[in-house]
């Protein structure tokens, strides 16, 4: 059972967790937990009643057809949707048991602990070195950041390619290199969770392979949540998979969570026929 002890309301609501886990997770296992999360862009509902637990040092994949709200859901996890005007979230997101959307919580503090890599590489218009060093420096790290920059670039498997041109612009790098630079940038602040929004969708197979290898490597220290359109990628890389889909309702199209389980189960023995249709390619 998921922890509900830290709910600020104190209310114990039944957790409608679709699917089942073989092993009941302990509270310590769960880094992020969303409870009945619904999300609205203005009057338009994008997500309805999503409850999902993200387990520590695992890779959780979010899959589903276009427009099912996977990315919106991912952006709820670091409050990046706060930047979009007139959006609203109902339900709760717990991060290490704490309410992420509590009034006292500053989004900036969250984002330093929950990093994000975007669909399209978005390096800063600065040097390669600066791209990695900016966030640690903003967090108050003083002195020589050379070691940290090197370490982050090494872990992002980019060091050997850029070590001789750290001062040159990040825009000189190829698309795949830029994406790995963005990963290095994200892990330089030592986040607990890394959110990845289709990080390889714009990359060629070789660069994609590099990113996937990297994810396995990073899993030892980080918890990763990845949105992907690529089902092979989800099957190859993730420990657990959540399948989202679009629910046609009278008020409009709303994203819902159909099934969440071990990746193996989702791809070989899904419980919901909609999941089966999707993973076998009969839909989407």
């Amino acid at each position: 059972m998921s922890p509900t002890v830290n709910l600020s309301t104190g209310e114990r609501r039944p957790l409608l967790r679709p699917g089942t886990s073989e092993v009941a997770p302990t509270a310590d296992d769960i880094v992020l937990s969303t409870q009945h999360v619904s999300f609205f862009y203005g009057d338009v509902q994008a997500l309805s009643d999503i409850s999902l637990d993200v387990h520590r040092q695992e890779i959780t994949a979010l899959i589903g057809p276009s427009g099912c709200g996977k990315t919106t859901f991912l952006r709820c996890l670091n409050r990046l949707n706060d930047m979009v005007p007139r959006t609203r979230l109902e339900g709760q997101v717990l991060f290490d048991g704490e309410d992420l959307y509590a009034k006292s919580v500053r989004p900036i503090d969250i984002r330093r602990r929950i990093g994000m890599v975007f669909q399209r590489a978005n390096p800063f218009p600065k040097s390669i070195y600066e791209n990695v060093a900016i966030a640690p420096r903003a967090n108050g790290q003083r002195g020589n950041l050379d070691d940290l920059v090197e370490e982050s670039l090494r872990r992002a498997a980019l060091w050997d390619e850029v070590k001789d041109k750290l001062k040159s612009s990040a825009f000189d790098l190829s698309g795949g290199q830029q994406q790995r630079l963005c990963i290095a940038r994200a892990i330089a602040v030592e986040p607990e969770v890394l959110l990845m929004d289709e990080p390889a969708s714009a990359l060629d197979p070789v660069a994609t392979q590099a990113i996937e290898d990297l994810m396995q490597d990073l899993k030892r220290d980080y918890t990763i949540v990845i949105v992907t359109h690529n089902m092979q990628q989800a099957a190859r890389t993730s420990d657990r998979t959540a399948f989202f889909t679009v629910d046609q309702r009278p008020e409009g199209r709303v994203g819902v969570l159909v099934e969440y389980d071990d990746t193996n189960t989702i791809f070989t023995n899904p419980k919901d026929p909609r999941t089966e249709d999707y993973v076998t390619g009969r839909f989407g």
Binding site: N78, P85, R112, G115, M116, N122, A138, F171
Partner: protein, 353 residues
Amino acid sequence: MTSFHLKATPADSAPLPQRQGARARRALSRVDPMRVVLGALALIPTLVLAFLVYKIFSEAWPAIRFNGWSFFTTKTFTMGNLYGSALEHRNGQVAAGGAQYGVLAFVLGTLLSSLIALLVAVPVAVGGAILLGEKLPAVLQAPLGVFLELLAGIPSVVFGLWGVYSFGPWLSRSVYAPISHLGLPWLSAGVSSNGQGLLTSGLVLAVMIVPIIASITRELVRSVPGNTREGAAALGLTSAESVRVVTLPFIHRGIVAASVLGLARALGETIAVLIISGNALNTYPVSLFAPFSTMASTIAAMLDSALTDSTGMAVHSLAEVGLVLVSITLVVNFAGRYIARSLGTNVPIGRGA
């Protein structure tokens, strides 16, 4: 087949009978008349500029001969006695008796007032534009943007009137007078009751060029990829840090270009400065508060009397002042281009998110 083909292809021209001149006609039909017309149109601004510079230069030529180098090194600009019979002869040129022409005070006045305007306007305009483009909700952005554009369109004479009737007297009373009592160098002499002087002019010029720089900067801010801005937010950077690492590096070249545009406006501004400068002649600006003159305002102020100079040298000399002004504006433009280019990283400006 005598008409042009807009899009002549080999297949089009193939059926032409192979007689003498067919090849030439085919070559001619490949010339796109649209390109010729547009090319000619594109040349017009260049030709106008060249023609203008040539005309000013030829008008100024007698003055260049008469004044020599002292034109650039002296501050006294007087047309002499336009009604006397004595004449001044120099280098084969004739001017009214006692005529003496030096541009240096006006050059200093122009450069200093424009520099003040630039120093005040750039931070205000860039800061305001970034605030407008990034921090304010969309419902406020549009009306404030329109307001900015309206401000850019207000005739400069209105700014001049505001400066001399309202802004200047207020500055003189509330700012200049108290400060001048401190007796600091550059901040004491020459305070007039209506505030006419260098600093007032610089500030009014700043108000005039802020909308120019700000509206361009606002467009630049809009072109910054939202994706990159989100990347900064996702790292937990504050909005101030985001401006530093994302917005400014993306737009700094454009800011230089916008500033040069604003500076060019300030350098050439005539009527507002004429009203607020105090129109001091034959003197260097003695303090930030003191009256002065610029090249543009002097040309406007003196042209009427200059036309009565029967030797013509007064008009020639004003043309020479104009020539210096044009040269400075051109130099500023090229310097701006050079700075913008040297700032150049290969930032892909305008590549949307």
